[in-house]
């Protein structure tokens, strides 16, 4: 069945042949309905095993702290069956949407088959490996076959940028802040969409967590599998290199007004009301926990405060004795899943504050909560005072 699906998709996408892939990241183990469980169990019944190293994206349950997810019995059982089916096929139980921070880092130029939109964008744009946006089911079919259709972003000529985004009008101080990257991504995804852009003028030492936040936001607001950051994307040391030696077909000069409009789109309400905070989409890294812990002393968290992360990070926190103090400070650490894919937030909907462009995008439809976007420091300050606090000065 996997080979038939792969062959049919290859034909539909105009691929001339299949190519070997070095690894896969698989997004199909998150429960959205019984059909996906039946599909995975049919593969298992046929004896399917993955042929290449394959990590798993989030599931619909927190297997480390099951009480975090308030699923009814049917949903719980089906979500668990789905997760177990993918494990049975030989996928690694990483259960994270940040596989690149859980040891899965393909090399520059390597062909891979990844699902999960943020991971696809990060894989192409930050690691320089090559993957298309593989949807649920095709990712596991590629992993079983060890092959993917040769089309799209596997081909060097389809990876060239045609749009230059000139960020020279944005203050260097803003470009150093974490809060800038989801906003840039929200603007980029909506504006550039399916074209390939090269962003010029970002700090050469911007962090992987900043690029992770950018990847998640571009992919939530647009059909973006690859963006180039000049000086940072491995195949884009310069704008000219990103464009394959050509000049860009068009140039957009990014302005502070464009960014402020994108920032405003990330929130669905204004005002002071706040009922919960959620961080960690993509999953929080150890470095992000460092930043959170630095903000906590002297503050008392008054509202539900969720941080979603991978079990690899939970294990590190535990080993270093950091998990218990976080819990004492009022932080709920969620592993293996997250607040927009599983019933975790308190049932009575209200206003959720987040520093994640991806949470900001999906929260209203998936949880019923309204959403307010702010920096990490804004989120902590708001959780401590019980009303929305945002530092507006950085956007002036």
């Amino acid at each position: 069945m996997a080979m038939r699906i792969l062959a049919e998709m290859g034909r539909m996408l105009g691929a001339d042949r299949l190519i070997p892939v070095a690894s896969a990241h698989i997004d199909g183990a998150l429960y959205h309905g019984d059909s996906g469980v039946h599909f995975a169990e049919r593969l298992v019944a046929g004896g399917a095993k993955v042929a290449v190293p394959s990590t798993l994206n989030v599931g619909g349950l927190d297997l480390l702290d099951p009480d975090n997810v308030k699923a009814d019995a049917h949903r719980h059982d089906m979500a668990l069956r789905l997760m177990r089916a993918y494990e049975t096929m030989g996928c690694r139980a990483t259960w994270t949407c940040s596989p690149y921070h859980a040891g899965h880092r393909p090399a520059f130029g390597q062909d891979v088959a990844w699902g999960e939109s943020n991971a696809v964008a990060f894989c192409n744009s930050v690691l320089g490996a090559r993957t298309n946006r593989y949807g649920d089911f095709l990712d596991i079919c590629c992993a079983i076959a060890g092959r993917a259709p040769r089309y799209g972003l596997h081909l060097p000529e389809k990876r060239r940028a045609t749009v230059l985004i000139d960020s020279s009008a944005i203050s260097p101080a803003l470009k150093r802040l974490d809060v800038f990257y989801p906003v840039l991504g929200c603007w980029y995804g909506a504006e550039i969409g399916g074209e390939i852009g090269v962003i010029d003028g970002l700090p050469a030492d911007c962090s992987e967590d900043q690029l992770k936040a950018l990847s998640a936001a571009v992919a939530s607001s647009g059909a973006v599998g690859l963006f180039h950051v000049a000086g940072r994307t491995p195949e884009a040391p310069t704008v000219t290199a990103a464009c394959g030696g050509d000049v860009p077909a068009r140039t957009i000069r990014l302005t502070p007004e464009m960014l402020r409009a994108a920032r405003d789109r990330l929130s669905t309400v204004t005002g002071e009301t706040i009922d919960a905070v959620a961080l960690g989409s993509p999953h929080f890294s150890l470095g992000e926990f460092d930043a959170l812990e630095a903000l906590l002393p002297g503050k008392r968290i008054r509202i539900p405060f969720f941080v979603c992360t991978g079990r690899n990070v939970v294990a590190e926190l535990e080993r270093r004795g950091r998990l218990a103090p976080l819990k004492q400070a009022g932080v709920t650490v969620v592993a293996d899943t997250c607040v927009v894919v599983a019933p975790i937030l308190p049932a009575k909907a209200g206003v959720l504050m987040t520093n994640s462009g991806k949470f900001a995008h999906y929260t209203p439809a998936n949880t019923g909560y309204a959403v307010v976007y702010g920096s990490l420091a804004d989120c902590v300050a708001s959780a401590a005072t019980g009303r929305v606090m945002r530092d507006e000065t950085v956007w002036q």
Binding site: M1, R4, I5, E8, M9, M12, L13, G14, D27, G28, L30, H32, G33, D34, S35, G36, H38, F39, R42, G115, E116, S117, V120, N132, R133, Y134, G135, D136, F137, L138, D139, G152, G189, G193, G194, A219, S220, S221, G222, A223, R265, T268, V340, H361, Y362, P364, A365, N366
Partner: protein, 139 residues
């Protein structure tokens, strides 16, 4: 009026046209239980896609949209047909897997954005095996 679309997945269908005003991610955009558009930021929020000839100006977002498509096929809440602006690896995949799982099939056609403007929400349309779309012109 006849429009010549290119079939990605051939088939016949008939129904009312729903042309979305903006691109959408099925995951986080369409409720897999009801087949309604669930994203409150989307201009077509709360409209039902089940049974419609769904015309999409573009796809964004999640790779889980193929799962949502499969689930809609499984529970009988899928659109009657998909008319996409460009070839897409995500929604068509949901239909390909649905055929493997015996959940049925629907036509998936490619019709560039400029040509899509001839299709209006609310009009009746019929899709033929060769990708031809026969649509009412005024309504």
């Amino acid at each position: 009026m006849k429009l010549a679309a290119v079939p990605q997945i051939a088939g016949r269908a008939e129904g009312e046209v729903l042309k979305l005003e903006q691109p959408i991610s099925f995951w986080g955009g369409v409720d897999p239980k009801s087949g309604r558009i669930s994203d409150p930021r989307h201009p077509d929020h709360d409209r039902e896609i089940a049974g419609r000839i769904l015309v999409l100006p573009g796809m964004i977002g999640s790779s889980s949209s193929s799962y949502i498509m499969l689930e809609l096929m499984a529970i009988g809440r899928a659109p009657a047909a998909l008319v996409l602006a460009e070839p897409d690896a995500i929604l068509g995949l949901g239909v390909v897997v649905a055929r493997e799982m015996d959940y049925g099939s629907i036509p998936v056609l490619i019709l560039p954005r400029e040509a899509q403007s001839a299709l209006k929400t609310g009009a009746r349309a019929r899709i033929e095996q060769d990708g031809g779309i026969y649509a009412e012109t005024s309504r």
